[in-house]
Amino acid sequence: MAMSLAFHIIFAVMGIGMPLLMVLAERQWLRTRQPVWLDLAKRWSKGTAILFAVGAVSGTVLSFELGLLWPTFMEYAGPIIGMPFSLEGIAFFTEAIFLGVYLYGWTKLSARAHWWAGVAVAVSGTVSGIFVVFANAWMNSPTGFTLVDGKPVALDPIAAMLNPAALPQALHMTLAAFATTGIAVAGIHAWMLRKDRSSPFHRAALAVALWIAVPASLLQIVSGDLSAKFVAKTQPVKLAALEGHFKTERGATLRIGGIPNERTRETPYAIEIPKALSFLAFADFDAEVKGLEAFPESDWPPVAVVHIAFQIMVGLGSLMALASLWVVVLWIRKRAPADSRPLLGFLALLTPAGFIAVEAGWVVTEVGRQPWIIQGVMRTADAVTPMPGLVVPFLAFTALYIFLGVIVAWLLWAQIIRTRPA
């Protein structure tokens, strides 16, 4: 399951970002009629097609795996959080339909109708991603039911769907999708431009990618801050683990880097900034931040994993924001980003940054919630299937996904990026 999710999330992220790139490129084509834009739109639609297909089948696996691995969880949670899944199903249906229309309809539709089909793909893809995150957010802040004798009663699926974590998490994930895709595409074309600065194809691609990457990466800083403040309020154990923060204190120290040690209850080798954690978590330099020691050890997530994943996510996110800021400065000075050789190098280096940050962020939210599958309600160990020998399907799916991942990467490279523009 974890493997399937880790794999699927990459495709989901690009599946949300790519259609927007494709639609923007086609719009430029309709406006300017410069063939380079049509070429770009077609290439990106190929990429979308490959990513969507693999994303759709790996998503199908997930919809079954929820039951195959966590039957108890689903029996419990299905009626409460089925709502966003049902809505996601509808959004996904719409996306699949219009993707078919878009990919195979270049000659069958008017240019305008074709473009709108692309818009429908981009919108429904984003919306379906948001609904899935809503369901995940519920696992972090379960609402919309009352527990009586360990059984959920008085269900309110709407309240469950619009749980307190839903909006901060959905915003964070959607921005992550756009930032990741934008930076990855910009990075690839930046790398190409370092060899061939005048290529109109790569210049156009870089420009569109940056339109998405820059605002998303900058807004992500704000959204990340909101998310952290939310976690501080609702999941103090998770926050303490994120920060490698063991002792409850006022004016808590922010630790950047470092390796938390659960035995000695210290986080050595970190850069420490006094009082900064209190400020970031509660907007008050003297606020009290609960340390892990305030909670029973049986409720701790694996602290080192969560802390390090969090450092990776924030670090890479900050680098992406820094690159975006650089681009904004160039825009203000009316210089094309494609003409700045150091920026191109920086972007090329950042190509995989978004993906790594997304995976790290996923570790933060999922591992950070352990040992709970539903925060404070159900423990992960109680939810797992009674089926023995789970390691067999796990290894088989892992092998399959690695294989597919390699193929997709190779196809995107060979079919879309490497081939010379017409």
């Binding site: 199908t60 039951g67 029996e75 089925g82 078919g100 229309v101 990919l103 195979y104 008017s110």
Partner: protein, 358 residues
């Protein structure tokens, strides 16, 4: 009218979605079977027609199964959990099939330069298309026969393997494959652009019809001992006789239309008996969703969830039904003439000269 109404409506919608998956998504799998079996001088043309027929629609068709799963875990969570445990092994196999089929088809479509590799994708696509329906059918056979109901302390084999490996389940698996292949061949007769190609698919369709008949017979024979209830209900229920008459008439009309080369009529008629098999299954098992364990009413989620899902489905239908209509009217309305290769076709908007050039 069964009481309470809402769970029955939702169970009905779930079956309707499954029915749609069988006649639409099922045919996409069936097309893969014909890709595997493509023979003779026109085998490449056949494969191309197959790829062209399912390319624009298979992903939308595939969503029906996701809808079934989502409805099941939202509205009948106990059934979903039960089936997920009991059918763990075949469902995992089916998922492998689904992943390989979809990815390989897409990889083949977008890997236009490298022909030896492309052949491999074609092979994986067609084999996965053939194996997946069999496993799906075996799972259904295990459910309908009640074999999935095993004590939790049974051995691994008795609990997780034998239920879906019974002769009856295997017969249902064969029937599923044959039905999917039959549907695909009938649809392809309408979409084939040349007379020769039509004749190929017509022959395939008639051959598949014979195998469907044989598998149906095998299902009844193997089922007589283990699932006398199924055959009993199918013969005695008040709805059974009309259902069987409709099935018989439609099946014969489809075959007659194929023989006389009236392909559009055959396509319309072929859907009926296939759907009737799906509903016959539902009827045979009713009111049980897991025979003897979970019924439509006992497994139903709380009323508030059901009501919200019903609203959601109604709202979704407003969005999805017209969209589906657009999809099928763009790609399937004049399937006799609209048959250009997508990757060589030029974008219509390129007909107008560019306003400016850089």
């Amino acid at each position: 009218m069964p009481e309470p109404l809402l769970p029955h409506v939702l169970a009905f919608v779930t079956m309707l979605a499954l029915n749609a998956y069988v006649v639409l998504g099922g045919a996409d799998f069936g097309a893969g079977v014909w890709d595997l079996l493509a023979r003779g001088p026109r085998k490449d043309v056949q494969r191309e027609a197959i790829a062209h027929g399912i390319g624009p629609i298979w992903e939308a068709n595939h969503v029906w199964i996701i809808l079934v799963v989502v409805l099941l875990f939202t509205c009948f969570p106990a059934v979903y959990a039960y089936l997920s445990v009991a059918l763990h092994v075949p469902l995992v196999l089916m998922l492998f099939g689904i992943v390989l089929r979809g990815s390989a088809f897409t990889f083949r479509a977008y890997d236009s330069t490298n022909s030896p590799v492309q052949k491999w994708w074609g092979r994986i696509f067609s084999i996965a298309s053939t194996v997946t329906p069999v496993v799906l059918g075996m799972s259904v056979g295990a459910i309908v026969s009640g074999a999935i109901v095993t004590p939790p302390d049974a051995t691994f084999t008795a609990r997780f393997l034998t239920p879906w490996l019974s002769p009856f389940a295997i017969a249902v698996g064969g029937l599923t494959l044959a039905v999917f292949a039959f549907l695909a061949a009938v649809y392809l007769t309408v979409e084939a652009e040349t007379h020769d190609l039509q004749e190929d698919f017509r022959r395939n369709a008639l051959g598949a019809a014979v195998i469907v008949g044989a598998c149906a017979l095998a299902t009844l024979i193997t089922g007589r001992e283990t699932v006398s209830k199924l055959t009993d209900t199918l013969l005695t229920h008040t709805l059974a006789i009309p259902l069987q008459i409709i099935t018989g008439v439609a099946a014969l009309s489809a075959i007659a239309a194929l023989v006389t080369r009236r392909y559009r009529i055959a396509r319309a008629a072929a859907v009926v008996p296939v759907s009737a098999i799906v509903w016959g299954w539902a009827l045979a098992q009713f009111p049980w969703m897991v025979p003897g364990v979970h019924s439509v009413t006992s497994a139903a989620a709380p009323a508030v969830t059901q009501r919200l899902v019903a609203y959601g489905l109604a709202a979704g239908a407003v969005l999805v039904v017209p969209s589906l209509w657009v999809l099928f009217s763009v790609f399937k309305s004049d399937t006799m003439s609209a048959f250009e290769r997508v990757d060589t076709a030029e974008y219509r908007a390129t007909d107008t000269p560019p306003k400016e050039r850089s």
